[in-house]
C-alpha cells in the first residue's frame, strides 16, 4: 500500500460514520461517502469490501488484543484471572482518543437491527475464542465457557459505560471496576 492509503481509509471511515449517523446507514452509499471527502467510489472499494466493513474493520485485531492478554498470563493461573487479563488488554486497545469514534459508531449500530445483530455476533465470537483459548490451557468445561462468557459480559458493560455521556474514566479503569463487581455479585451465591 502507498503512503497515502491509511490516511484515505481513516478519512473515509470518519466521513462514513458522520453520514450514517446523520442520514441513516441504509440511505448512505459508498459513492456518497467517497465524494464527501473528495475521493472516488473506486478508492472506497480499494479500502473496504463494502459499506458495512467501515463499521467492522479491525475486528481481528480487537479479538487478538484479548487473546494476547490471555496468553501473557501464567498457565497455572485460575481461568478467571486469565480472562480478566484478556478483558484488560482488550479494554486498553480502546484508547481515549477513540471514544468519540466509538460513541458515534454505537449510535449508528443501535439504530440498525442487522448491524446490531452483526455486533452481537462479534461479541459471541469473542466469547467462543476466549473459551477455546482457555480449553487449550487445560481449563475444563463448563468452567471455560463460564469464565469466557463472563469476560465478554464484563467487557460489554464496561464499554457501554465508557461511551456514556460525561464518562471520564478510561475503559481500562471501568473494566477493572466491573471485574471486581462480577466477583462480588457471582461469588456470593
Amino acid at each position: 500500500m502507498g503512503r497515502w492509503e491509511p490516511a484515505a481509509a481513516e478519512r473515509l471511515q470518519h466521513a462514513a460514520l458522520e453520514l450514517f449517523a446523520r442520514q441513516g446507514y441504509e440511505r448512505t452509499t459508498a459513492a456518497e461517502i467517497a465524494q464527501s471527502v473528495g475521493l472516488s467510489e473506486r478508492t472506497f472499494f480499494r479500502h473496504f469490501a463494502d459499506k458495512r466493513e467501515v463499521l467492522f474493520r479491525g475486528q481481528d485485531e480487537f479479538e487478538a488484543a484479548f487473546l494476547e492478554g490471555l496468553a501473557a498470563v501464567p498457565a497455572d493461573a485460575p481461568a478467571m484471572a486469565a480472562v480478566a487479563a484478556a478483558v484488560r488488554a482488550g479494554a486498553a486497545w480502546f484508547v481515549d482518543e477513540r471514544r468519540d469514534h466509538s460513541r458515534l459508531r454505537q449510535v449508528v449500530i443501535d439504530a440498525n437491527p442487522p448491524l446490531l445483530e452483526r455486533e452481537r455476533h462479534k461479541m459471541a465470537g469473542l466469547a467462543t475464542s476466549l473459551a477455546s483459548a482457555l480449553r487449550e490451557r487445560g481449563v475444563t468445561e463448563p468452567a471455560a465457557t463460564l469464565a469466557a462468557e463472563s469476560g465478554a459480559t464484563v467487557f460489554g458493560i464496561a464499554f457501554g459505560l465508557w461511551i456514556g455521556e460525561g464518562e471520564q474514566r478510561s475503559l481500562r479503569e471501568i473494566a477493572d471496576s466491573v471485574l471486581a463487581e462480577l466477583a462480588a455479585v457471582t461469588g456470593t451465591p
Copy 2:
C-alpha cells in the same frame, strides 16, 4: 377453544419437528405439516401464526417461569441468589418428558441460521427481563446486568448439557451444578 384443540396443536408441533429435522425447515410447508397428521392447512393456521411459531411457542411461559422463581425470593436476598432461584425455576419447567422434543428442536434450530438468531434473541430477552426485575428489587447497575447475564449463561450451558447424548440428570440438577461452578470460577479473581 374446543376440547380437541390442544391435542391438535401438539400433534402438529410434533409432526412439524419431525419434518423440519428430516427434510429441513425451509423446505417444509404448513400444508405439508397439517397433511402429515390428517389435518387441514386452515387448522394449522388456527393454532400457529406461522411455521416459525411451532418452534417458539410458549416463549412467554418460559420467561414467566424464570420471573416467578425470582419473585419468590425474599427482597433482601443477594442479586445472585434471586437469579439462581430464577434459573432453577426455569430449569424445572423443562421436565424430562420434554427432553426428546427439546433435542429435536435444537437440531432444527442449529441447522438454520435465522432460527438460531431468533433463539439467541430470545435468550438475550431473558437476560434483559431478569436484569429489569432485579432493578425493580433495588439492585443497582452493573450488578443487575452482571447477575442476569450470568444466569442466562448458566441456563444456556445447563440446557446444552441436558440435551446432550446419554445425559440422564434432570435440567434442574445440572443447573445447580453449573451455578456452583459459576461461583467457583468467577468468585476467585
